[in-house]
Subunit: 338 residues, 6 copies
Amino acid sequence: MKEYELITLGEVMLRLSPLGYERISGGETFEKRAGGSELNVASGVALLGLRTGIVSRLPDNDIGKFIKNRIRFVGVSDDYLLYDQSDTARLGIYYYEMGAAPRKPSIIYDRQNSSFAGLDLGQIPDEIYGKTACFHTSGITLALSETVRETAVEMVKRFKAAGAEISFDVNYRANLWSEEEARNVIEAILPYIDILFISEETCRRMMGMTGTLREMMKGLTQAYPVKRVCSTKRTVKSPKKHDFTSTIYDVDTDRYYEESPYTDIDVIDRIGSGDAYVAGVLYGLLKYDDPMRALQYGNAASSVKNTIPGDLPSSDLAEIEGIIKNHNATGYVSELNR
Amino acid sequence: MKEYELITLGEVMLRLSPLGYERISGGETFEKRAGGSELNVASGVALLGLRTGIVSRLPDNDIGKFIKNRIRFVGVSDDYLLYDQSDTARLGIYYYEMGAAPRKPSIIYDRQNSSFAGLDLGQIPDEIYGKTACFHTSGITLALSETVRETAVEMVKRFKAAGAEISFDVNYRANLWSEEEARNVIEAILPYIDILFISEETCRRMMGMTGTLREMMKGLTQAYPVKRVCSTKRTVKSPKKHDFTSTIYDVDTDRYYEESPYTDIDVIDRIGSGDAYVAGVLYGLLKYDDPMRALQYGNAASSVKNTIPGDLPSSDLAEIEGIIKNHNATGYVSELNR
Amino acid sequence: MKEYELITLGEVMLRLSPLGYERISGGETFEKRAGGSELNVASGVALLGLRTGIVSRLPDNDIGKFIKNRIRFVGVSDDYLLYDQSDTARLGIYYYEMGAAPRKPSIIYDRQNSSFAGLDLGQIPDEIYGKTACFHTSGITLALSETVRETAVEMVKRFKAAGAEISFDVNYRANLWSEEEARNVIEAILPYIDILFISEETCRRMMGMTGTLREMMKGLTQAYPVKRVCSTKRTVKSPKKHDFTSTIYDVDTDRYYEESPYTDIDVIDRIGSGDAYVAGVLYGLLKYDDPMRALQYGNAASSVKNTIPGDLPSSDLAEIEGIIKNHNATGYVSELNR
Amino acid sequence: MKEYELITLGEVMLRLSPLGYERISGGETFEKRAGGSELNVASGVALLGLRTGIVSRLPDNDIGKFIKNRIRFVGVSDDYLLYDQSDTARLGIYYYEMGAAPRKPSIIYDRQNSSFAGLDLGQIPDEIYGKTACFHTSGITLALSETVRETAVEMVKRFKAAGAEISFDVNYRANLWSEEEARNVIEAILPYIDILFISEETCRRMMGMTGTLREMMKGLTQAYPVKRVCSTKRTVKSPKKHDFTSTIYDVDTDRYYEESPYTDIDVIDRIGSGDAYVAGVLYGLLKYDDPMRALQYGNAASSVKNTIPGDLPSSDLAEIEGIIKNHNATGYVSELNR
Amino acid sequence: MKEYELITLGEVMLRLSPLGYERISGGETFEKRAGGSELNVASGVALLGLRTGIVSRLPDNDIGKFIKNRIRFVGVSDDYLLYDQSDTARLGIYYYEMGAAPRKPSIIYDRQNSSFAGLDLGQIPDEIYGKTACFHTSGITLALSETVRETAVEMVKRFKAAGAEISFDVNYRANLWSEEEARNVIEAILPYIDILFISEETCRRMMGMTGTLREMMKGLTQAYPVKRVCSTKRTVKSPKKHDFTSTIYDVDTDRYYEESPYTDIDVIDRIGSGDAYVAGVLYGLLKYDDPMRALQYGNAASSVKNTIPGDLPSSDLAEIEGIIKNHNATGYVSELNR
Amino acid sequence: MKEYELITLGEVMLRLSPLGYERISGGETFEKRAGGSELNVASGVALLGLRTGIVSRLPDNDIGKFIKNRIRFVGVSDDYLLYDQSDTARLGIYYYEMGAAPRKPSIIYDRQNSSFAGLDLGQIPDEIYGKTACFHTSGITLALSETVRETAVEMVKRFKAAGAEISFDVNYRANLWSEEEARNVIEAILPYIDILFISEETCRRMMGMTGTLREMMKGLTQAYPVKRVCSTKRTVKSPKKHDFTSTIYDVDTDRYYEESPYTDIDVIDRIGSGDAYVAGVLYGLLKYDDPMRALQYGNAASSVKNTIPGDLPSSDLAEIEGIIKNHNATGYVSELNR
């Protein structure tokens, strides 16, 4: 058994958001939170009961310390955090504003030249590669800087070589890189990926695939040695009301796993709900190696994350299993946990 | 005419709830409120214009003083509050977290060994029994401790003997006592009850009754000298959207009173909405002795309570009557009270 | 080209509202904002990119200074603010409480004897009349006091004489004056109005007109030299969910301009959404002299204002045009501005 | 024994103050509190354990209801509150900003034409005059309006006639009336006063007296049938650090009562500390008829009030007696109440 | 080398405190923090760079989870936290109110029957005793319940037997047990203590010792095998202004270590400053085995803790060393860390 | 007469500070403010009644819009704000934490690569140079980037050529550049400076001067065509208590202007108090060309700024003159502005 069941790699940012429905351009207060796709994943898995850590790089000052403390608060090990003591050390920031129909939620990024963008392979301790059962990162990390990209790709290879399963969330962001640039990089690492998260739209547009979603998912496992492909389906009825479900294709059983969608989710904060899905799925696969349970955990974890302020999930196993049970319940269900 | 139109008996707790949709397990602030079923009832009736008091027991310290002040703030007399000066004096607490689909609201109780749980009949001034037109308590009070149960049962008998009407809300809580224990106690006091509040589910499960709701309601008046039975019907579309209505069966007229439900209630805080119903009904009965008006007051008071943060109602008579009027309006209705 | 594209005349008040769904009668904090129909209009137009100012009168103290600063904050010139240094100087106030079904939003006004109510023509610098392309005021201003009414009517005439277009929003408020009083005053200024905002209900009840809305709108342009009549249609599904659209009748083209409604608007704060409509329409007319664009700007500006806390709009041109584009979009639309 | 030990007469206002050291002209939030000299006195006496009420007049709306609830919250009876249902009903307001050297605290009043200013003798129920052992009002009340002045003077006479002791705090405010106007009115009611509160500066400037403070105090009891004269001495080292003590002259014993000052009081909110002094003195006189104890209660109540946010005191008897004990302690004193 | 440098044993409570200078009996919000003497110590040492853990017992619910997360947030391992799943599980609470002269800070405890009070030796994993270089607990733990006392005493013996240094802070609290009861228990464990923290007053009153402080400190090392005795000296000029220093007596060198006091400390929150002292001293001893450095770390850590809201320290090594450096500086010192 | 009396050049940053005495590394909220030395100066002068503008460069997004609105809020013209529409546009940030003895205030800067750092002369409209009576910038601006330095130096020359007085605050910051680098640049622009602000310590260390302060001040006017040299003297008794005064040397009169210090200033927020001094002095010189009045305005403006939260001043002329009057008062001074 490895020391960690999951290690992730990614940038952790300071998230600044106005209170309630206030605007970035007004008000006198910002909520101050930590967030970042791969931290969200590591935290989601940790809350469900597995031991997780994150590789990230923070400025060696008080705002970096804030992030470190939040990482610990959500149950993720800080053993592989790196600290940037240079004069140019800085923490990436993003500003987030909630939406209300017909106003969409908005994000402004200020993450260039962050300490994480200078993460170099040489800074990572060699011992790490043998420490985990699974390694996860995302397309965001690959897009942040040339340095980080090289670091990440090499880490994927080393973890793979050391026997870890590799999980990867494509998470294509048009504001970070072009479709072509992304496609080239992602195609280069697909040979190392075991568990792949990709949306239908990204399959079509960035990857240039055609056919039904199911055909594209299976196609990816045929072109590459990917064992599971997971794809979420979110229906945005309004900024405050979503439906959500997903599909997992599993090579071994050659089956597509699905369940009825969660409907009329009360969206309090949709940021991180995709990462919560990844966390739920990884938990199901790492703990039970069962795609159907993974799907259920993923859908429940993602749905309930939408109701939690901030990027980070806060649901433990009992809560997630309660939500799955309610989702499948047919008779009387109490409206209150007492 | 009596000095009070209503005296209630019950525990008042400190309610601690995180802000907005935050979790009990996170955040840095708690809203600090007072609440308790029988205080909520006394306050609802007081706001509508009748003179009410509460018998309760508080620790003789600053947190007890907070509760006393809040009781006065909501218009209920503090003349029958008792103060516990012992070393073990404490105020019961409950933690409350809001829900948002698919997350349910949650409550954690920390009320054991409270000062109220030590309320002994000997502490109650004898003069009280002749002071009120109506006395109200609930099944929660009966379940809190052996001492309180004996006190409450004896108080019911003494108020009855002194000529007060007795109102009782079964309010069965599975986390406080078993169905069998509850049934035995409640059957023992039903001979003293004039106005009974009971849900359909409690009739079936705890009381072990069968038949339609109407049959069970009438059955209770046949088995016991109860004069009015009131039963609410809440439809939970989501934690933030409910429908609500109720039925009153009146022995004298042998009629069932009902009205069309309030629909699409925007639930801000559902705690205390059942108590607000009791308050509305008691106001209607105490002031007008008219089951139909009681039903209207009860339904309106309960519906609007759902929109008020905290356990305690805040609607005066003008507001409740405005809501009833809108509920029954057919033509143009202004969207704004100006 | 004039120095200002729009100058408005109106009272600016201090708005005090409890946090969230709290009540005016409870809580310990008020949000402190500036608001007033004609400031809302001037600000909406300024945010879209035109130069605007407001004629108003404030007490010469720190609370007046707060208002002055907020006026500048929202991009409106303070060059024509007047300061009342008398002993009786005061700022009008209104208290606002949000609604949630079945509770309506409520407003309590405390604006009598405000410094604005003493605004006298002699206080206005003569130079102002030649400075603007358009002048706007509303029926609220006419209703505030005898002094203000005379001032406003005379200003309408002088601006008209100096070549400005005159815009007027009837905005009938039954709590300020009677229908008869309002009708007399408004009929007296209609000969000077170029752009008229009036609701269907006001046409019927206060103006005593009959026929369809379209007939009444056209009728007004036949009885008076009004060039454009604009009428909004708000459907209140609940205090938190509205639909919204409008009609503009244009004399020159003899056409009625309309578009499909904005539906299921998430209402965070509906105050000022009518003024945002006026601002959008005025922007469209002043910038493009195009009733269809004016209609689109007005509907979008009003819809999105409902999602902004406070009276004042906060949407710039890019946001409004994004909302119009989404409203008319047919294919895939991103749920997030990134 | 009378039903009340103290009834006061005075205006209760809404106090709006920015958070912390923010300015009235900035920020986005106001603290919302109730305050008014005579309410502060009634509340201070009630907290110490005597039964008190207040005669005041509030607008019959939600902001008036807020004040009514706060009055009850602080333990004062609302039985003699009057409600103004007219169109012009309004609550007086004052804005308060804290000081920090070299910035002084600031107050802006907006209390003209309040509902209280229209308080007419005819509105007061006749029964009230026999209900109390003591009646208290202040020079502020006399200065508010002609109507209120006549009402107050007549009430003083009627309470006196009914056997109540009359307490009066001169509390001269130059922004409300001239020295001459004040002197005339106050000289007219001095024949009815038993307990008089007056500062040295007011003796000299407004009353035109000369000599030492002691001479002036005694002089007042020689010119009028006043039995006790109380005069406070506040030394303002900085807005955040005061010293405080007082002198009471008692006719019966022909003695001056004094004690060593409270030094280095940490001033959190100095508003209402003068009223807290009056409350402490009245408690001492009403309960024990002992000028020395009255002096101690007054000095302690005033000193500790400076540490309490808001106008209203919050100290019960145990706290005041603890403070007196510490003030006189010589040996080891715990730094913490545990 | 051991896995932990320090393990502590103690109760962790929920601390509820009103905002700013508000009172427990007023206001609508509580700050929600974690605190407890031995957690404060473990956290202080962890922040300075050593690996620490805590043995405590929490209710297995969301409020227990809050505490667990805060423990991790401050850098202390949660590996030895125990969870109480019984029906009576509860978290101890204390209410804290700040002081301002002449008002003292106040604490109300509500910690009886907490899950920690039921901590039984059998719940502690046997492996723990060999895991740490040092074990620390306090007299508070010994006073909480019979069960906890037995557990703690036995743990002291087992850790001692396994080779850990034993640190003990007498921390006598008169509200928890009598002097006699305390003396008996503490005398029974003194044979196992290596590092002892005790105040002069406790030496005299609870331990019944006489002589100078230095004589009493040395006397304890003569009567028992204690190697270092540490005693703090706090001078309370006002609730907001303290001086602080301490003495350490070291048996090996037979010397008393002292330094000039920190003067005019701006006390924001004095709770936990004694624990911060213990943490600083333990860090100095565990890291450098140097009583003088231990004294400096202790005095600096305690002084600066007074400026930090909440029980828990937040100073890392760089900050503490900066404070020591300033304390000893003679020339120009920048007023700002930039 | 010019359109502006003062135009400044400088970076405006987002300032993020935890509430009260919380730490950057903890808490969940940041206060969100605008600040920057030259904005602070422009705002201080504008509040005193002169027309001012600022040349700065902001990202063209919502966070830039926030800054723009704040600039207008404090009365400074936004006519010369420039907007950066590039992908790398960002706003400089600084984190600020308050101090309390023995904890110093702390600042963390994150301002590298800001939009302002890319400010190029070509972006500045040529018309600006003739528009103002005075131009002000500081050594911070010169230190930010090579580009900005060149821009600033050239702007100094062009404003000088166009007839403006040049004001310059050396404001040496060791974290931005070395002493040598600073000296070279500043010596190069001293030939263009009319009004110079420099501290004694900077004279000695960065400029390498010797002698008394007075000798160094005069020396600067002899080596360069500077007409007035101003030097402040701040005595930091604790982070919360300062004394302040200054010296101005005037070439024309060959005199040193001084006054007795403001003592025991209650420091709420010391950031920007140096800039407030500059603003007061510039106001005095621009309005009255009187060094003594300038000194008084400067000292008063600086002293009172310390009591205002945030970087930006908020004192108008009446307040500053009141503070000067109190500072020089000898007899009775009211403790309250009523």
